[in-house]
Amino acid sequence: MLKIDNLSVNYGRIEALRGITLEVKEHEIVTLIGSNGAGKTTTLMSISGLTSKMGGSIAFAGTDITRMAPEKIVHLGIAHVPEGRRVFPSLTVYENLMAGTLGNKRLDKAKIAELIEEQFTLFPRLAERKTQAGGSLSGGEQQMLAVARGLMMDPKMIMLDEPSLGLAPIIVEEIFELICRIRDMGKTVLLIEQNASMALSIADRGYVLANGEVLLSGSGQDLAHNEEVKKAYLGA
């Protein structure tokens, strides 16, 4: 579904990505793990067109999106849930969800109502807090809202940037369960995580990034049992 080939990105003189190649297949959860500055967020930003690229190519469902404008990429069906949640603080939960539909002009009223219903079944807590301001939610609820808002544009693939950041372990587990359910709904998930053990436990496949390069790749299980990964990221 998504194919990245030899992609490199520079921030000024700093090489953030040095020719990474990876693939995400339909209905998969693929995770990118790696330490700070490995290039995980940059990879997501380049997929959704928020950074300029030095070289290489990105294709989504057979379309080349390397130099496409961000709103067109969204229109193709890629939702990006950026790091740090970034919910709209003074809009209500419902308004936040409605804002998620802005990028997809194909949605009609009936479809939007259906999508709202879908989010409320997936995240019952958001239904309870429907009229509450986004900024008044707890961290975990805000993360759920950010994910739900991404799903409101009815994407084929959703990219999550560090959904576990700053959340209590019990909430993190809940979030990861939800990610599995999103995959089961027929979406493709590209997940970035520092919490490598959690991410690998639910991922179909994973890539380990270091210094802007792909160090290792394989199935979630294989990577979780790989000695190198264990040492570097799982703290074993």
């Binding site: 998620g100 509450q132 808002r149």
Partner: protein
């Protein structure tokens, strides 16, 4: 709590209250007020639209513009020049003046697209002054420091709009039209895009909103209505010169938006009533009233940073959101 009660009352008697307000607004000039009082009503209505249109930029898309007087100026001069030289009809010139102001708005907005906060404010401040100084110095077109006099009054067929009480209805119509159209726009895809930029620009981008073009349309929309106000103001006073459109005027409009409440449609209406009302009430103390304004704005920033009509869950009322969050966390902790 009281706010909730007000909201409940509003929900229940909405239609009745709206009709009552409409009736009062329509018969107001017929109740035998002095011309000077009716002029105050006219001011309030004009500033309702002016402050409201600034609020579209500052309150809804979160771009702090300080140069609204400039667009007001463009609208007034467009009307004054074209009406006195070519005798074009007021009704044709009114939208034209709006479009002229919107185009100048585009010229100001394009170079500021990548700027935020203070930098954008400074550019708009400068642009407003540039417009005023051009009006002051382009003698052949604008009459320079002599201004433009004898601006013809509008007429509907043979019925001339020639007194404050007749102009009252023009200002009223503009204000109502502005509020009605803006309400529709803000609830549309376009308006929601503006609001999401205010809330979090990066998130808006990641949701596929074209933030740069949204900011442009937002700026132009605000400037358009300021231009319309200028176009009505020019024949109302019949004489304009550049001194009217100084930075003071810009800050005057801004103070109504801030005092009334940014990011709500009713806020600038209340701001226009309060600030213009205070101007009259405080007239006996002369220039000291400007000190009062300053003090009022400072007190507002302390007590109610979101403005009189701003919601307490507004992003500008940051402290309150945190307070709510904290109590929730505490009570959650108790449960565990």
């Amino acid at each position: 709590m009281t706010m909730q009660k007000v909201k409940q009352m509003w929900a229940r008697y909405r239609v009745f209250l709206l009709i009552a307000a409409a009736v009062i607004l329509i018969v107001l000039p017929l109740l035998g007020f002095k011309n000077s009082t009716i002029r105050i009503f006219c001011r309030i209505l004009m500033y309702t639209t002016l402050a409201g249109s600034l609020n579209i930029t500052n309150g809804y898309s979160g771009q702090m513009s300080l140069g609204h007087a400039g667009f007001f100026c463009v609208g007034a001069y467009t009307m004054a020049i074209l009406a006195t030289r070519f005798g074009i009809s007021f009704w044709l010139l009114m939208p034209l003046a709006g479009i002229a102001a919107a185009l100048i708005g585009l010229v100001v907005a394009v170079p500021t697209l990548r700027m935020k906060g203070l930098y954008l404010s400074i550019i708009t401040l400068g642009a407003s002054e540039v417009i005023r100084i051009i009006a002051l110095n382009w003698q052949s077109l604008t009459g320079g420091s002599f201004g433009i006099k004898d601006i013809p009054r509008p007429a509907i067929l043979s019925f001339e709009v020639d007194s404050p009480s007749k102009f009252y209805y023009v200002f009223l119509a503009v204000a109502v039209l502005f509020l009605f159209v803006s309400r529709r726009v803000l609830n549309s895809r376009v308006g929601r895009g503006w609001i999401s930029i205010r809330e979090n620009e990066l998130a808006a981008k990641s949701l596929g909103i074209q933030t740069s073009s949204a900011k442009l349309t937002n700026f132009m929309y605000g400037a358009f209505w300021a231009g319309i106000c200028g176009a009505v103001y020019a024949p109302y006073v019949q004489y304009i010169d550049s001194a009217v459109f100084s930075l003071d005027e810009g800050f005057n409009i801004l103070s109504m938006v801030i005092i009334g409440g940014q990011g709500t449609l009713v806020g600038p209406v209340v701001g226009a009533v309060v600030v213009n009302g205070l101007t009259e009430v405080l007239r006996p103390i002369g220039e000291w009233r400007f000190v009062m304004y300053g003090a009022l704005i400072i007190v507002m920033m302390w007590l109610r940073p979101q403005g009189l009509m701003g919601a307490s869950d507004n992003v500008l009322a940051g402290g309150k959101i945190k307070a709510v969050k904290k109590t929730r966390r505490l009570s959650a902790g108790v449960q565990k």
